[in-house]
Amino acid sequence: MAEPAHSDEPLLKTPLHAEHVALGARMVPFAGYDMPVQYPTGILTEHNWTREHAGLFDVSHMGQAFLAAEDKSHETVAKALEALIPADVVNLKPNQQRYSQLLADDGGILDDLMVTRVGAPGHEGWLYLVVNASMKEQDYAHIQARLPKGVSLNRKDELGLMALQGPSAEAVMAKLSPEAAALSFMMSADVQIDGIWCHVSRSGYTGEDGFEISCKGEDAAKLWRALLADPEVKAIGLGARDSLRLEAGLCLYGHDIDTTTSPIEAGLIWSIQKRRREEGGFPGAARVQREIKDGAARVRVGIRPEGRAPAREGSVITTPDGREVGIVTSGGFGPTVNGPVAMGYVAKDVSAVGTDLHLIVRGKPLPAKVAAMPFAPHRYKR
């Protein structure tokens, strides 16, 4: 998720567009789509509802696609993708999902994405990809140009995608699909909900337990309504999605990670499995391996401003004696934390939790401290 599209381009609509309008959402341009930033109750209420009950998010603007090996071999398709990302794809179990990054040759991040080994019978040698809305054209072109013969990329723009997130998500899902509700974190299943085919994964981007549900575009509104019919579920817009992911310490592409940042600088080493760290064989492997060995010169850290004033993206970070050491890449108000939170990149020598820093906000230094992330504890279903 990243930059808004140019305003002179006609905006695309997700299959749930009419649902948002009917709910009274405030619609804004986002990544070329007309998307709900908030519903009438507002971002704070939506954020807190998701942390306490369950929020339903339309993420149909994200790019869904399949990679398929002609020889129906998982190894063939996995190796093709491993040439582009640093995650271990070969050892994915059927229906298992992983977070990873498309890397440039210099180790910069072209996009972050989710990869799932498709487990449905008859789809051997298939991977399911979910990429950022703002990056999908570039991503698909990048992948397409680098696929070996015998592996094809099939974009599925017609699919809908929604996320059900929050402590009540499991109970809500259990009423609709006990099979989906029984999934563990980062596993997926193909199920029927109200007679609708759905691909459900136990994942999300809020730090809460929950599910991401893909379905045919024409079924999306029916599924959306079935989920919203539960009194524990409310529709949540992009505004709260951003404050939730920031509190969860999760990166937003185009802000916290981009072509100038490496996965090691970004603190994403956990997403590079041991075999890949050792073997390399992905773009930028030399840099990634060097940074794993020697440490990166700068790293992404959590930051807690000491007062009430939020420090926004772009705020310069200095030491208390005024040495410039970094920049804020995401910052705002954390409703669950009930205070300002931020993340940014700082020089390694000032990256330890508890280090005193200043954030330059409207020309004035604002005292802050490096803080552990996530700011709000993750509550994934392991």
């Binding site: 507002g42 971002i43 704070l44 404050s243 939020p310 926004r312 705002g332 409703p335 409207r362």
Partner: protein
């Protein structure tokens, strides 16, 4: 007592030689949940159009401009602890500051309640 509005959605409610400044109901609705307000120090001299305060919602920071020139004689420090008051009662308890006007004729350039209502209709 007269209330005047700017096209940037500040209001000033004038009583005697001073005016209470805040943001309109329309403005608070557009901003969404207010989570932080930065107020000027008492005694600060402002020229019309100067950045007088900052109001931050979950999403973004916005400037509040001085609708007239004058000296800040009082600020609503309650907003530091309860910034959400700006959403709940923008015309009342959600005021920002009191300014002693140095040039009352500047009020003539601002919109009346009725004009502001028309202006909001034209942009929404």
């Amino acid at each position: 007592m007269t209330t005047r509005y700017t096209k940037d959605h500040e209001y000033i409610r004038v009583e005697g030689d001073a005016g209470i400044v805040g943001i309109s109901d329309y403005a608070q609705g557009q901003l969404g949940d207010v989570v932080f307000v930065e107020l000027p120090s008492v005694g600060k001299t402002l020229s019309k159009g100067d950045e007088a305060a900052v109001v931050e919602s979950v999403k973004a920071a916005s400037e509040v401009y001085a609708p007239v020139s004058g000296e800040v004689v009082e600020v609503n420090s309650e907003l530091e602890a309860s910034p959400g008051t700006v959403n709940e009662d923008p015309a009342g308890r959600g005021w920002f500051m009191k300014i002693r006007l140095t040039n009352e004729s500047e009020l003539d350039g601002l919109m009346t309640e009725e004009q502001y209502g028309e202006f909001v209709k034209s942009i929404s």
